[in-house]
Structures are given as structure tokens and as C-alpha cells.
Symmetry: C2
Subunit: 253 residues, 2 copies
């Protein structure tokens, strides 16, 4: 570690006004100089979307006391790109995303704007962590999440969690006194079973709402879903080489 | 293979009116019964985004002769979900996405709506392939792409390409006579170097356009970028377990 305070970029996908990002800023500012660039509106489920066909807006906001903060009209990934190129004019030392209101464990990582923002930072070789709390509600109690975030950030800043990595951290929705600690895990094999709700609008036309049921297909005790169901916070190290090497070696075309 | 014709779901991210999807339908209908569910507007760069906060619309379109086709107001991933639940009322036997106008090789897969649609099908255990042609233009000549698509689909339907897999197929922008064949590859380690273009609107307010330069950081001759630069079509087998197992085994918390 250098002696000067590290620069920490904070973003999320629930938008700059979500309580989860305020909770994360409170933790992160103990570790360095925090700069916030987050979406100006909720962007849940945006995955790794970027904005190509329209321009982006960026406005300063005064929401977090002395902390330099901006809202951006784009996606979580846009926020990271814009922060590096136009706000910081350099790469931050760390990028933390969240705290998401809702789980990003297992297959949820694929759909998650929170984790995609952290992944975008990681593609830029910025040490990155996404934090998600299993409580979806707006007025969720983030105290356990903050405790876990502080623990994980401390581990990364002191070399116990390799800084070259990208991490998907999920925090169980349990009373603090039941919390058992952190487990390093693999991503559980799970999926959503879709069922769209069909309705008819006042003009007589059909529309559909996406709903679904989470299905864990994985019996392993080394997964993030298992850890979260057993009062642990889960930490999954993440990579973005999507090559299926097993299949690659098996194919003879 | 069963004796009856397989059901093939076709989608894309450039929208139902893009020439690339028409080119893919022309190929796919030789292999089975084709049903099309595609976005009603371009959705490039949407990644694995899903639509949570607003309802979806689905309308039949008559664009491809006798082929059953729908346009959907959602993302490419929404299209696949809606097709399975509300159009086909079952899983199709195959899902093909594209032909995308532009490359989805290497890191582009992360941002790609085309590949995310195919991945969504794969999560549902539907054999899936995404096709992308390196020519971004609207009036691109898809004849080489169609030849490659026919070859890859034939390989999958006849067991040479394991049907359990998900594949990212990219086609080089070269004259057909220079085409050397298909190479099975890994995803190249590459990134985009962002540079936002800053402008001022007629009301005096700043806005930004995302632009960038593709940077291949990978010297390997076994990558998709290498294959495409050497007149091959690239086929990368893809998976969606993002766990970094190397790091997982190295962490001692």
C-alpha cells in the first residue's frame, strides 16, 4: 500500500438515491477518498448493458456530505466507464459496487447491474467488489452488510483477498447475532423459472410482467447459495473469460 | 435426432427488422420449424439486461413469409424468456441468435445482447448458438455468414458440436474465396479503451457519447481474435459459471 489514501470509486445499480449506496459510502470512506458515480434512476437487471445509441448526462449531486458524487443517465457499466474517463481522469485504486437491495448470488450475477459495474472495473484491472444484501426492501437494515463490507474491504486492502481479483459478496438476511462469518464459495448452479403475468390494459391490449421462481439446482456445500442459507456471507471470486475449456478440449470439428 | 422437425427459436439484438436476422432465418428454416421473437427496436450493447420495472408487449409481425414471428418491447433476454413461456409454451429444440451486425468476439461477449439471448437459452438447457458478422453496416453482405451458420448448425444437429453447449460464432469480414474454415477457439483477453466524446447541447448543457478503441491484449494463436484476423470463422464454447476457480483455491480468509 502507498502511504497516501487510496481513491475508491463507488457505484451501484439501484441508483444514487438508494439507501444501499449510502451504507456502502459510510463504510468505504474509512478506507480512502471516495468518489461516487451512480445511475440517476434504478437500473436493476441491466446486466452488462452499455449505452451506445444515445448520449449520457452527468450531474453533480450533494447527497453524501463532503463526498464528491455524480449521477449519470446511463447504466451501471456506463457509470464506471464515465467515472474513469471524465470524473477521475485516471483509474481509481478500488471500485466497490452496491450495496445492492437484493441477492446477486449464483445465476443472479448474470443479470446484475451491480456486479457488471464491478466487472467493468475489473476488466480495467481495478480491484473490484460488488456487495449485495438479500433484503430487497427500500428500508432494509444494512448494519450486518456494513460489517461484512468493512471486513472484506479490509481483507482486500491488507492483501488477504488478492487485489487482482473481482469478488461477488452477498450478505444473508439474518439478525447480526446469528451471523457466522465469511465463506469463500463457488457460484451455485441455479436458474429462474419464468412465469409471465399476463394482463390487459385499459385499451384492451395485452401486456406481460416478468416474474419467476428461483431454483437452486446445486446440492454442493461449497456454493454461495448454501453459505447464505447457513448464516454465512458469501464471497465468490469472479472472472470474465466465458470460454468453456472442458468443451473446448472435447470438440473435434 | 427425432424424426419430426425440430423447433428453432430465432432472436437477435439488432431488432426484428435487421437484415441479419432475415439472413439467419433463411438458413435456419432448412433445419426445422422456425419461430421468431425479437426486439421491436435495436438493443445493441444490452448485455444480459432484463426488464423488471415495466411490462412487456408482444406483437405478431409478417416479415418472413410463412414464418411465425413476433416483436417484443423488451431486451434480447426478455425475448427468449417470453418466447418459451408465452409463444411456444415449451422449450424450443434449439435457439439461434443473430446474425449480429458487428463482432461479438473476445470481451464483446460481455456486452452483447446477441450472446446474452443465446446464454439465456443455454441456462434453460436449450442448445444455443449466437452468430455475429464483423461487418457493422446495415447493408452488409451476409453470404459468408450464412454459409458458416449452415455449417455450424449442421454440425450441432448431427452431433459434431455437442448440443449441450453454448457457442459464440463470429464470421470474418472477408471475400468468400479467402475464407479458410472454422476454428474452435478460446475467448481472447481483450478490452475497450474508452474515450467519451464531450459535446454541448443547444441549451448549453454537456453530454457524452461513448466511443472506444478495441485493444487485444492476447498474443495467443488459439483465440477468436487470432482466428478472425487469419480468415477463419471462430467458434468459442461458452459457459456462465463465472467463478474464478484458480483464485478460489488460492484464497485463505
Amino acid at each position: 500500500m502507498r502511504n497516501e489514501k487510496p481513491t475508491i470509486l463507488i457505484t451501484n445499480d439501484d441508483g444514487v438515491t438508494a439507501p444501499g449506496i449510502a451504507a456502502l459510502i459510510e463504510v468505504a470512506k474509512q478506507f480512502g477518498r471516495v468518489v461516487v458515480v451512480a445511475p440517476d434512476a434504478p437500473q436493476s437487471g441491466m446486466g452488462h448493458a452499455i449505452t451506445i445509441g444515445k448520449p449520457l448526462r452527468l450531474h453533480p449531486v450533494h447527497l453524501f456530505g463532503e463526498i464528491e458524487a455524480y449521477q449519470c443517465s446511463g447504466t451501471p457499466v456506463d457509470c464506471v466507464k464515465l467515472a474513469v474517463d471524465k470524473v477521475l481522469h485516471k483509474k481509481p485504486d478500488f471500485c466497490f459496487s452496491g450495496i445492492n437491495h437484493g441477492s446477486n448470488s449464483s445465476i443472479n450475477i448474470i443479470y446484475s447491474g451491480t456486479m457488471s459495474a464491478a466487472m467493468e472495473a475489473s476488466i480495467e484491472k481495478i480491484p473490484a467488489i460488488g456487495f449485495s444484501y438479500l433484503d430487497y426492501s427500500f428500508d432494509a437494515d444494512f448494519s450486518l452488510s456494513q460489517q461484512v463490507a468493512a471486513e472484506v474491504i479490509h481483507a482486500m486492502m491488507h492483501g488477504k483477498l488478492p487485489a487482482k481479483g473481482l469478488y461477488n459478496v452477498n450478505i444473508p438476511q439474518i439478525p447480526i447475532k446469528k451471523y457466522k462469518g465469511i465463506k469463500v464459495c463457488r457460484q451455485a448452479n441455479a436458474k429462474w423459472k419464468e412465469s409471465f403475468v399476463e394482463r390487459v390494459d385499459p385499451h384492451g391490449k395485452k401486456y406481460f410482467w416478468l416474474t419467476g421462481e428461483f431454483q437452486n439446482l446445486d446440492k454442493g456445500k461449497d456454493t454461495d447459495v448454501w453459505a447464505l442459507e447457513h448464516q454465512y456471507a458469501s464471497v465468490v471470486p469472479v472472472q470474465y473469460d466465458l470460454t468453456d475449456y472442458e468443451l473446448l478440449n472435447a470438440i473435434q470439428l
